[in-house]
Symmetry: C2
Subunit: 302 residues, 2 copies
């Protein structure tokens, strides 16, 4: 099954203690679709400016990403500038230039409207709703968001969440959305807003997946070199959704395995700037690291 | 096999967002030995003042803890006062009164000197060395420490570490000891100081166990009610060492299972103030929660 994703395609300027990248390819939809493309086809919905070059289009197309839904509009592509300190869990945003994103409204090509798996990356919840109105009968809707929308567009976000099957956000956002400090209680409160599954991202500490009757904990892979955490969350979501769509199965067991595949993909992304690590990644490396996650977490039962 | 532990026996005054306890039983050796006592016998080395009452002595004795090495000295028992905010990972120390601990020197009773399993809880590394000089031929030495000693008694600590098989400290301490921000690199550097195994405690995020050739990740149990994290680390160490001593086995597989037992024990301690939860804990509850850790982390392999 292909996945439809709406999100940003952007140029990022990133500083970390280990180096910097200027105007490198980024954006939630870019990371998501590149990661998901290792598992399944992707239909991308986003907007870029007239300054957007051919190379990334060719790269995404070569990965099997359908760009029929990528609008090109007069003006410049979305740009984000950020910095990480030694605590790579949190980015400090230095500049955000929405540019063509400011007036963006998603228009789904006819060929996208039958999409069964939909990922609403972190954008204005009103745009997320516009996408849902154009999709005919999705089987699974997953969604990301951020503090900015939880705070500023709470009502629209709550309306979106009523349609969402799986919410994928970080732990601070879970606490903020539920207004509750205890993560387990906060997660229960978020599940009551609509999603049947809540994936809580905790940066270098991994992921917790809450459903009504189960909790699954997956670690992040302990890495000796973390160059740039940008895109780790979207890369996780791409691997997670990619595996679910490829298997077309939503059992608890499949969701756990998808979580590990998402963690595997994220562990590669942070090893280099931009999408550079994903560009040279092979399926053999993915399987090898999946097995390392098994070794990392294995212990004998009683 | 019995375990010899040296550490503090104290009275704690603790404030958390969920309540407070004044002058309640605490101390690293108290938490450690109570926790370990579910697995094996414990020989305790510590000092208390003349104000120390009978009840905790009777409690510890009833749990199979040998108090022959508990000195009673003129003066008052060690007292600690601290506060936790909603971030229960970090205590703010409000007051520390060393009292009788100020002039304490461990003197091991003859019956302790054959101890095969030794845990040096977080005390002055010079006192840790004094204990090691009095133990004849231990099979396993494990050790805890803190930022105060890493900073203030680094040379003595380094000398202690040369004798230590397993170091059990938190992630900030690992980074501080190695002077390295990346946790994997820092852990490699700490292993080069002597310990063959490094257990990195990460509070509500669980534990990472590093050996030369392997990394094991265990989550903390996600709890709806965390009342008081005081003693969680020492309770972890008690369960961890308790299982190792009970099985008298130091294989990688046993260390992993010991790590989960340690995490199980810590998950109970934080559910109530002081040692109140451990006082009423049963072996059936321990096994039940161990199985919940299995469910929490299980996923299908490739």
């Amino acid at each position: 099954m292909d996945i439809l994703v709406i999100g940003s395609v952007a140029f990022d300027s990133v500083e970390t203690p280990f180096g910097r990248g200027d105007d490198v390819l980024g954006g939630s939809a870019t990371y998501f679709s590149t990661s998901a493309s290792f598992f399944t086809g992707v239909q991308l919905v986003a907007v870029v400016g007239e300054d957007f070059p051919d190379e990334p289009r060719q790269f995404l197309t070569s990965r099997g990403v359908d760009l029929a839904g990528l609008q090109t509009r007069p003006g410049k592509t979305f740009r984000w500038k950020g910095r990480y300190g030694y605590d790579l869990n949190e980015a400090q945003t230095l500049e955000t230039h929405l540019n063509v994103f400011e007036t963006f409204h998603p228009e789904l090509p006819e060929s996208y409207r039958q999409a069964k798996f939909v990922f609403l990356a972190n954008i204005d919840p009103e745009l997320q709703l516009e996408v849902l109105q154009q999709v005919e009968k999705p089987k699974l809707i997953a969604c990301d968001t951020m503090n900015f929308w939880i705070d500023g567009k709470r009502d629209a976000l709550i309306r979106t969440l009523e349609h969402v099957d799986i919410l994928v956000i970080n732990e601070a956002e879970v606490r903020q959305l539920a207004d509750e400090a205890n993560l387990v209680k906060a997660s229960r409160a978020v599940l009551a807003m609509g999603p049947k599954t809540l994936v809580v991202k905790r940066g270098e500490y991994g992921v917790l997946v809450f459903t009504e009757h189960s909790i699954f904990s997956a670690p992040a892979y302990p890495l000796e070199e973390v160059f740039d955490p940008t895109g780790a969350g979207d890369t996780f979501a791409g691997g997670f959704m990619g595996y679910l769509a490829a298997t077309n199965n939503l059992s608890d067991e499949t969701i756990r395995k998808a979580t590990v595949f998402g963690s595997v993909m994220a562990s590669f992304t942070v090893e280099d700037f931009s999408l550079d690590r994903l560009r040279k990644l092979t399926w053999t490396e993915i399987e090898d690291r999946f097995r390392r996650f098994q070794t990392l977490t294995a212990f004998e039962g009683l």
